[in-house]
């Protein structure tokens, strides 16, 4: 029997599900390996039984979500968090930068009391996570790599070096030389420098490397005359949950 796999979503845009649905030809090969029993974006069937692999998208932002993810964890042998929202809190983490009551009133106005929420947390700040696929959205080849590792029962660690490494292997002209601020030097690699290959900057969606040189990075910014404020702002777009707890 093929391993049973289900895809779940919490607070997110469901774009990572779309990435999986968009795998194209590789999706056919993936389906030969696993039995997909629940995947809201592509099928109507639901599954309440035990799971070999739960693939979880989105961050945890309500009490109901806490209960739901705990139940999913309890019936899953392996849990893969995928997408920035699930792995590091992602853009949902921006909520944590203001007092909860205040941010709720800003978003829901006079109906705020009908939307009780809690501070945003990535999945691993609530339940144990076995594998991570970082990124906003996930980089499809990495998702496949992690899924393969999970199916083979071997560990899979995302790189812990800067996006610069992959960007340089792709021989891109450094964005700092183009006078553009880029979070590549402090963001963990693993996306094959997807954004910078295509002329965009790195937004830090995969989270920071485990040991960023904060002081050194500030010196570099000063040298390129980039205001610290601007960079901190860019950094907290995806990484605001980081202060709350250590992420992998």
């Amino acid at each position: 029997m093929k391993p049973r796999i289900a895809f779940f979503d919490f607070a997110c845009c469901e774009g990572c599900q779309l990435q999986v649905a968009n795998l194209g030809e590789a999706l056919l090969d993936v389906l030969k390996l696993v039995d997909v029993v629940e995947f809201r974006e592509v099928m109507s069937e639901k599954w309440a039984g035990p799971l070999d692999i739960a693939v979880v998208e989105g961050s945890i932002t309500t009490k109901e979500a806490v209960e739901r993810i705990e139940k999913i964890r309890a019936r899953s042998r392996i849990l893969i968090a995928y997408g920035s929202c699930a792995t590091i809190g992602g853009v949902n983490g921006m909520k944590n930068r203001s007092p909860l009551e205040e941010i709720r009133r800003t978003v829901y106005g006079e109906h705020a009391h009908t939307f009780p929420t809690i501070a945003t947390r990535p999945v691993d700040q609530v339940v144990k996570v076995d594998y991570y696929v970082h990124g906003c959205p996930i980089w499809p080849p990495e998702f496949i790599e992690v899924l393969q590792a999970a199916l083979q029962g071997v560990p899979c660690f995302p790189p812990d070096h800067a996006v610069c490494v992959e960007c340089k292997l792709n021989e891109n002209v450094c964005l700092y030389d183009k006078g553009v601020t880029c979070l590549g030097p402090v963001t963990r690699a693993g996306c094959n420098s997807w954004c910078t290959n295509n002329g965009n900057i790195c937004y830090g969606c995969r989270g920071l490397v485990s040991n960023p040189n904060t002081k050194g990075a500030m010196d570099v910014l000063a040298r390129y005359r980039i205001p610290l404020e601007l960079v901190l702002n860019k950094m907290s777009m995806y990484n605001a949950c980081r202060e709350q707890g250590k992420t992998p």
Partner: protein, 344 residues
């Protein structure tokens, strides 16, 4: 020994003629004053006045990602060694990069020989190109004695204003200059012009760092515990740019990439870097070089001390790429000068 010349205004046509017959890789402008070796089909795509490319030509000798073997576990454990090779002409290689290739040749010919590298290398034809002026302030090629050609090419071109003079160094070089009748044999006037270029070059290329090459081993013998490593370590972001762009850094990791059947796959070699967080990390989470300062020191020692002990040569070519690419402005020439000041 054979010398030939080609008119400067015929060079683009010559490159085009070469590219009609085989894959030609040459420096191409990438914007912001930066260049990269890329495949071209027309001579006019190549830029013959360029500063060292973002990545050195090592990317053709040991590609960033290279398959070493294919495996299949469907029946037993089948493995097949693979050499991914590609015939090509590498056009316009500066003397610093010729020196870099020579270093890689030394390393990969050392036992156990690296057959993947050696087989690939044999398929790459090299046409060198002399610099008549400094590329920029980061270069220290004269200190490292790499500002003049020192072999390692099939054909070597030196610009003489309205023409190039070419040194034919191999049989392959001989056939290269036969292509399309662009070349004629050099005469006395051409040799005199070449001499004049070299004489002027010796006047310009010198004293990039206020030390002598012979002093470097002594300087490094005394620099294990200097505080200079901590100073540059504090600035370093560990982005790995310095090692990735280095023409002589050859460290790699080997990983298995399974296919989607989970039974077959490829084993690939990927560039690695001593500057990366996990490079010296071992089981249990210990790291031999946890501090950035020790990683920086390691990089310098891998250029100026360890290869001297082992191979009798420096592994810095003076190309200046590491300093040029460093966001934290860690400058090799400055560091060498600092180390020398401290020792003296």
């Amino acid at each position: 020994m054979r010398y030939v010349t080609i008119p400067a205004d015929k060079m683009a046509d010559y490159i085009t003629a070469l590219a009609r017959r085989q894959k030609v890789v040459a420096p191409v402008e990438k914007g912001k004053g930066q260049f990269a070796f890329e495949p071209i089909s027309e001579g006019r795509e190549a830029t013959l006045t360029y500063i060292p490319t973002i990545l050195p030509p090592k990317k053709f000798f040991m590609p960033q990602y290279e398959t070493l073997l294919e495996y299949d576990l469907h029946e037993g454990q089948k493995m097949q060694a693979v050499v991914e090779l590609e015939e090509m002409v590498l056009f316009g290689v500066h003397t610093c990069d010729l020196a870099g290739i020579a270093c890689l040749n030394t390393v990969f010919s050392d036992r156990p020989k690296d057959l993947n590298y050696l087989i690939r290398k044999n398929k790459i034809v090299i046409i060198g190109l002399e610099c008549v002026a400094y590329c920029d302030e980061y270069a220290s090629c004269a200190l490292m004695n790499n500002h003049l050609p020192n072999g390692g090419y099939d054909l070597f071109l030196t610009p003489l204003g309205d023409r190039y003079i070419g040194h034919v160094n191999t049989y392959i070089g001989d056939s290269l200059v036969e292509e399309g009748g662009f070349f004629r044999d050099a005469t006395g006037a051409d040799f005199a012009a070449l001499e004049e270029v070299r004489r002027r070059k010796r006047e310009v290329f010198h004293d990039e760092v206020p030390i002598d090459l012979d002093e470097i081993p002594r300087i490094f013998a005394h620099s294990l515990r200097t505080t200079i490593w901590k100073e540059i370590g504090d600035r370093c972001l560990s982005c790995g740019n310095c090692t990735n762009v280095c023409p002589t850094c050859y460290c790699f990791d080997i990983v298995d990439k399974p296919n989607l059947d989970l039974k077959s796959g490829r084993r690939i070699r990927v560039w690695d870097s001593c500057q990366n967080e996990r490079f010296a990390k071992i089981a249990g989470g210990e790291s031999f070089r946890k501090e950035r300062s020790s990683r920086k020191r390691h990089r310098f020692f891998r250029k100026f001390r360890y290869p001297v002990d082992r191979f009798g040569k420096f592994f810095c070519t003076g190309c200046g790429r590491c300093s040029r690419t460093c966001m934290a402005r860690i400058n090799l020439k400055e560091t060498l000068a600092q180390l020398a000041r401290e020792y003296v």
